[in-house]
């Protein structure tokens, strides 16, 4: 068991300054895997780490391991554009993401790790009558679901974000926008690290560079996993491996309805504050915010082919940057500094799977598509509940894998009309 971690604070920073910061303890240990755990989480991304954290915290399971093939937070947790919001159309989604948003609001204090959750608001911009209709539908639905959401007309958009081009003579003029003020962005890596530190403090073993090669099932019950670091026993296994969940599901003959596609993003060079909110446009497909470091963080749409390569075509980058320059002509002379690709695992209805399976003790949490980061704490919270109780929480009941046979889909494709 780990000794209680020393609290981070301005006082600890000052204190450590006198010893040249040579006495900080590791944020998490690097243990060798034990022979057996009460629960194993496969995948050390944000969702996996939060699952382990809430299993330990809310459900009194202390003997837990997170098994990560590479380094923690190295998948989409470390590759997204960090937008956090809960203004989803369907009740099921709204409830889940709102639960997550509430956890975001106290995360830094809960973890004693500053994840820089910055509630600078998210605007979803409408460019045609169809957008207006769909966004207003979402606004009304959010409103009645008690999720903060406002409708802004063009002038209010301009007032809230003065640098946006609201001229009515452009190809796709801004006709209005929804605004969720509690929404915003966070420091993505810090989320993984903060939860890892928190989970580690409660005794969770975080095992990196450990690849799962097989899932062992006996009489319809999981009994453990095989890895490149040997066999590890457990009767509860939660798989949170994004696109690679399909690979793991294949090991036990389960076919997941997931498609993995490249999703690209980029940042500009850092500049002094210029954009104080998050702007998303589905019609011209661009979203942008400015990080605390000063970089414009820009997301693109998915490439249209399936792939695990973490790279996409330049045409997508071109379309996205063009849309940004169209919406923010003043950014034309800014420069793209870094660009990267992630792999998003998408379900046919663009909603996640947080579910048990027909194999006892085997659970899946995947299919978050382009919108998983914002759900990170909520996802782990409900998944931990599901693993601990062998039954879904009310919040993730609608996201059972069975919905693909029953047809009870939560179709955020058609409905949301907005990139996640």
């Amino acid at each position: 068991m780990n000794k209680k971690p020393k609290k981070y604070s301005v006082f600890s920073l000052i204190k450590n300054a006198f010893t040249y910061h040579e006495n900080w303890q590791p944020a998490w240990r690097s243990p060798e895997p034990k022979k057996e755990y009460d629960a194993i989480i496969i995948g050390g991304g944000g969702h996996g780490l939060t699952t382990a954290y809430y299993l330990a915290k809310n459900h009194d399971l202390k003997n837990i391991a997170v098994i990560e093939k590479g380094w923690i937070g190295g998948g989409n947790t470390g590759r997204n554009t960090t937008i956090i919001r809960s203004n989803y159309l369907w009740d099921q989604s709204a409830a889940l993401y709102e639960h997550a948003l509430k956890l975001w609001e106290s995360m830094s204090q809960e973890l004693n790790y500053n994840v820089m959750f910055s509630q600078r608001g998210v605007m979803n911009v409408a460019h045609n009558l169809h957008d207006v209709r769909e966004l207003k539908r979402r606004w009304h639905s959010n409103r009645l679901n008690d999720i903060d959401c406002e409708w802004l007309d063009t002038n209010q958009v301009k007032k809230f974000c003065p640098i946006i081009n609201t001229s009515q003579n452009i190809r796709y003029p801004v006709l209005g926008a929804t605004l969720q003020r509690r929404a915003g962005t966070a420091r993505h890596d810090a989320v993984a690290w903060g939860y890892a530190r928190g989970a580690d403090a409660m005794g969770v073993d975080i095992i990196q560079n450990c690849e799962v090669t097989n899932i062992i099932v006996q009489n319809g019950q999981v009994t453990g996993i095989e890895t490149n670091k040997g066999k590890i026993k457990s009767k509860k296994i939660g798989v949170v491996a994004a696109g690679h969940s399909s690979v793991i599901a294949n090991m036990v003959g389960i076919r997941l309805p997931l498609e993995s596609r490249p999703l690209q993003a980029l940042v500009s060079e850092p500049v002094k504050p210029i954009l104080d909110t998050v702007v998303m446009s589905n019609t011209i497909h661009a979203y942008v915010s400015q990080s605390d470091k000063g970089e414009l963080v820009i997301g693109a749409g998915t490439d249209s082919y399936t792939s695990y390569t973490q790279r996409g075509g330049f045409n997508i980058v071109e379309d996205t940057v063009t849309a940004i320059v169209e919406l923010f002509p003043l950014f034309s002379r800014m420069k793209m500094l870094r660009h990267w690709g992630g792999i998003v695992d998408i379900c046919p209805d663009a909603s996640p799977i947080i579910s048990k399976t027909h194999i006892n003790g085997l659970f899946f949490n995947c299919g978050w598509g382009t919108g998983g980061f914002k759900a990170t704490p909520g996802s782990g919270w409900v998944f931990a509940h599901t693993i601990a109780n062998n039954e879904p929480h009310k919040l993730n009941e609608p996201f059972s894998i069975n919905r693909f046979s029953s047809g009870e889909l939560v179709d955020e494709h058609g409905a949301a009309a907005v990139a996640h």
């Binding site: 920073l13 060079e269 330049f314 034309s332 002379r333 029953s406 058609g414």
Partner: protein, 992 residues
């Protein structure tokens, strides 16, 4: 003397020379202090001479022309250039922010993760100040006056890099191939020549045209002039290849006329999209700084960059120069300085000795060398003043003996060379670590590519020559080579002693050994990250931000790896590098957008009748890419009045609609009927030729994705119409199914959306107008009933006329080849005057169809609606073996009762028009309220003389007559669920 060019830096006027970069011009004027660092605001100068520069960032120009974070080393001087320093206040020399430097003990790597958490609500305030402290330059606030463009280019050979290797490669390939090959040589500098590491003094021999021998510098000049003459070799200067994508697709950015100010040109940059059969990478290498205490002061330069400034720009940097090196290449700088009479105080060399030839050169130059010594500290604030050197133990690398102080105003450092493998790595080639000189070099190509010269880890000139011939030999006919070059053995050998972190007499915690200069990442930050458990290279990078500055780690990445390796006692090859990704150097957004902005941003599609609509004063609506007339106001009519007029005219006289934007797909082939059977829910086999049928298309989840009328033109020939917005996606879905699911079906699809224009003539008098148009034809119900089709010659033009209706009125849709559409429209208009023919737009169309209960896909449906939900089970064939979505229609959720169903909705108060998208509840309760549906369409009907709406309501079909509520912000609107057909439920008007 060359021409003098004036420029300003921080408002002060200076003069530079014609070929100067901003960096060389500043140095020429003795300006060594150029910027402030990101975090500690430390004074910084110019470290390097190219794209790797981490320190000398400036804000170029002002207003619309301003550009932040420009590397002074990359800007060519032009008359009137204006540059300002960044990230300082009130001034570059006196920057309040540099208090951070003295508080730096409290700001270690990642300090922000550990604080600013209390009290919880205050983060926004903390963040306000953090954001203002961060960032470097300032974003432009005005629109960009310059333009950008894209060019596509195909070639046999693309050579990236115009240094010795690149030029040699182009000469070998040109000589050794036939005349038809196309070579493109791209170089990031304004002039070919590149940098050079080991061997500038060597002699070059040839047995061909250039007889005799030439010193390297003379030879390179000869080669530069020589290769410019060849027509099959295209050279792009001032151009950087920034991306190496799949299938040898590379992207380069060219600075247009870099020596002309942006104010005096329109076109600023051009992106080249290049597809090359073979790529030769000759991208050279970057000199590595040495990591020692306070290694960042203004006046500290990389040794080879300093040589460039002295040689190429004829500068004399400082008065007292010290060179600090761990390898031979810095001695070239020393020797050059000696030959040009620039004094050197001494050389400090980590090694114990150098080769005898070099030693002799230094003896002649009378340059003292401190062997086995290291610089352990420096002093000076706005410029380096002195250094401290110590002897170090050759084995343990620990300090022994006392420090010696040496005054200097200029320190040139060299820690060896990093091959520039960025593009190679982008191409997915595999790298391998070479311990000998601490380099990552290409191991295995992934694409059709060859790396040569310094970027391949080949540094010595004689080897560069040998390698170029050897690696390119298989591409050419060696007999065609008419001169072959050789180089004498190089004096300067790659002989290096790598100490990643130079020892210091202070504890590491007290030092500032900069690894990433711009982001102020020091060696102790890396140590901190490691000790806190951030062990993966990616974790360290993200925790410390090393390598994430605007220079993208060109000078810092390998040093960081070396230090991680040393501290964590793991071999470098185990750590791996982080992935190199595009762009190689930061790329202007405007250039990426090119011409595709403003008028060219997603080109507008307009119908052949568009001009008429414009003249008529129509207001337009964007539907997909199309501009569709929304309504046609007359004089000062508001929208509601115009729409009422258009709707009434259509119900009482004739309404005419330009429906050309609807997708039209021509379907031909033996299996056309079977194909339709599979893609639509209803049956097609028995549809007679000359008849039309409405179809609903489902996704494989059983949900409606499109609708439209399809007409049977012949036995194996149909024409399908789709919704305007979905035309392209339906076409590609159909093709997808044909090609991947049913390759056995013989069906051919052609989009004819733009070949035909569609004029829809609606209303009780439509038949009369058709009779006037084609007096010989019979348009009566008997001969031309509803849902039938005829090919008819209209005024000499063969047209397809369909009797179908989207308004509920008697309607004829004339499909006419596009060229004639406007004429026909005008003729209809003239002939219809007596029936009050009125053009109507999409808004009136919506009202008309909604009155009749007709759906619009994407409005009444949202991807969660089945045909049964729309109360259209009549259209779902029970007999057909299969169709797309059939299986899904029988899933437990799709057949369950109480799904959302299409209904009509009437407000109790007939004057209230509901908002589309508003939600319906049974009871007003506290939030969250239980929403049972929403309003999909809502209008005022001049025919009903009241508002009306359509909506999707849970179990709606069983709720007709019940009262519900639509809760708005300040009021709750009472509504009643009704039948969705408000006009002519028995179709009397339709078949009249």
């Amino acid at each position: 003397m060359s021409k003098k060019i004036s420029f300003t830096f921080d408002g002060k006027k200076y003069f530079g020379n014609e070929k100067d970069t901003l960096a060389s011009a500043l140095l020429r004027n003795g300006v060594f202090l150029v910027g402030r660092s990101f975090k500690y605001h430390r004074p910084r100068g110019i470290l390097a001479s190219g794209s790797e520069e981490p320190n000398a960032l400036v804000q170029l120009e002002s207003q619309g022309f301003t550009e932040p974070n420009v590397k002074a080393t990359e800007v060519l001087l032009y008359e009137g250039l204006k540059a300002n320093s960044q990230n300082n206040w009130p001034s570059l020399k006196f920057d309040i922010g540099s208090v951070n430097n003295f508080l730096s003990p409290f700001f270690p790597a990642g300090f922000y993760y550990k604080t600013f958490m209390w009290p919880p609500g205050l983060w926004k305030k903390y963040e306000f100040f953090i954001r203002r402290a961060a960032g470097l330059g300032k974003s432009p606030k005005e629109n960009d006056p310059n333009e950008y463009e894209h060019v596509h280019y195909h070639c046999d050979y693309l050579i990236v890099g115009g240094g010795v290797s690149g030029m040699l490669a182009s000469e070998i390939l040109r000589q050794g191939s036939n005349e038809n090959i196309k070579i493109l040589l791209i170089d990031q500098n304004n002039e070919l020549g590149g940098n050079f590491n080991y061997g500038t003094e060597q002699r070059i021999y040839t047995k061909g045209i250039v007889n005799g021998d030439e010193a390297y510098s003379g030879w390179i000049q000869w080669l530069k002039n020589h290769i410019k003459k060849y027509f099959n070799l295209k050279i792009l200067n001032s151009t950087s290849v920034f991306a190496y994508m799949h299938n040898n697709y590379l992207l380069a950015i060219q600075n247009i006329d870099p020596q002309i100010s942006p104010q005096n040109k329109t076109l600023r940059q051009r992106i080249w999209k290049i597809r090359a059969k073979k790529v030769i990478l000759a991208t050279g290498s970057f000199e590595r700084p040495l990591v020692f205490d306070n290694n960042d002061r203004p006046g500290i330069l990389l040794a080879n960059s300093a040589k460039q400034y002295m040689e190429k720009y004829n500068l004399k940097l400082g008065k007292k120069t010290v060179i600090f090196t761990n390898n031979d290449s810095a001695y070239q700088t020393a020797n050059f300085m000696f030959r040009t009479g620039i004094p050197i105080e001494c050389v400090v060399d980590l090694r114990e000795k150098i080769n005898p030839y070099l030693q002799k050169l230094m003896d002649i130059a009378k340059i003292p060398i401190h062997f086995g010594h290291a610089i352990t500290d420096t002093s000076g604030w706005l410029r380096i003043k002195s250094i401290k050197i110590n002897k170090i133990d050759g084995k343990t690398n620990k300090i022994i003996g006392k420090a010696i102080n040496i005054d200097c105003d200029n320190l040139l450092i060299s820690g060896g060379w990093n091959p520039n493998v960025n593009l190679f790595s982008q191409s997915r080639g595999k790298l391998i670590y070479r311990d000998l000189d601490g380099c990552f070099i290409p191991q295995e190509s992934f694409q059709n590519e060859i790396s040569i010269g310094a970027c391949n880890g080949t540094f010595e000139l004689e080897n560069i020559f040998k390698e170029a011939y050897k690696k390119l030999e298989h591409l050419i006919n060696p007999e065609l080579l008419f001169n072959k070059f050789y180089c004498e053995e190089t004096t300067y050998k790659e002989n290096i002693k790598t100490i990643w972190q130079i020892p210091s007499s202070k504890p590491l915690g007290k030092t500032k050994m900069f690894v990433d200069f711009q982001n102020d990442v020091t060696s102790k930050d890396i140590k901190l990250a490691l000790s806190e458990g951030y062990r993966s290279i990616e974790h360290i990078k993200r925790y410390t931000t090393t390598g994430m500055a605007t220079d993208q780690g060109k000078t810092s990445n390998v040093n960081a790896l070396g230090i991680i390796s040393k501290i964590s006692n793991r071999p470098i090859e185990e750590l791996g590098t982080t992935t190199f990704r595009l762009p190689y150097t930061p790329i202007t957004f405007g250039a990426i957008a090119g011409r595709n902005i403003k008028d060219f941003f997603d080109l507008e599609r307009t119908t052949p009748i568009h001009e008429w609509h414009l003249k008529r004063g129509a207001k337009f609506e964007d539907v997909g890419q199309w501009k569709r007339p929304w309504y046609y106001p007359i004089k000062n009519e508001n929208m509601q009045k115009a729409v009422n007029r258009e709707v009434e005219a259509t119900r009482n006289g004739i309404g005419i609609l330009d429906a050309s934007t609807l997708g039209k797909i021509d379907i031909k082939g033996r299996d056309a009927s079977e194909f339709l059977n599979r893609v639509y829910t209803n049956a097609w086999t028995k549809l007679e030729i000359g008849k039309c049928r409405y179809g609903l298309m489902l996704g494989d989840d059983g949900m409606v994705i499109d609708d439209g009328v399809t007409s049977r033109i012949g036995k194996n020939h149909y024409v399908m119409s789709t919704t305007t917005g979905n035309a392209a996606s339906v076409m590609s879905k159909l093709e997808d199914w044909l090609q991947t699911e049913w390759p056995d079906l013989k069906v051919f699809l052609t989009s004819v959306t733009e070949q035909f224009a569609t004029i829809s003539i609606n209303g009780p008098y439509s038949e009369k107008l058709l009779n006037k148009l084609c007096p010989k034809e019979d348009f009566s119900n008997n001969n031309f009933p509803h849902m039938s089709f005829k090919e008819i010659n209209v005024l000499g033009i063969s047209c397809r006329i369909m009797r179908i209706s989207f308004t509920g009125e008697k309607c004829y849709e004339i499909n006419i080849p596009s060229n004639y559409a406007k004429n026909l429209w005008e003729i209809c208009f003239d002939l219809g005057k007596e029936y009050n023919i009125t053009p109507y737009g999409t808004e009136a169309m919506h009202v008309l169809r909604a009155e009749k209960g007709f759906i619009i896909v994407g409005q009444e449906t949202d991807g969660s609606v089945t045909p049964i939900d729309l109360d259209m089970s009549w259209i779902v064939s029970k007999k057909k073996y299969d169709f797309i979505g059939k299986r899904a229609l029988f899933r437990s959720d799709t057949i369950k009762k109480g799904r959302k169903q299409l209904v009509g909705i009437l407000t109790t108060n007939p004057d209230i028009i509901l908002e589309e998208g508003s939600q319906i509840v049974e009871k007003i309760t506290k939030k969250p309220m239980d929403m049972i549906g929403h309003i999909t369409s809502s209008y005022y009907s001049p025919n009903l003389k009241r508002s009306f709406a359509l909506g999707l309501v849970k179990g709606g079909l069983d709720k007709k007559g019940l009262k519900m509520f639509v809760p708005m912000i300040n009021k709750n609107i009472e509504v009643e669920i009704t039948n969705p057909v408000f006009i002519d439920p028995s179709n009397k008007r339709l078949i009249a």
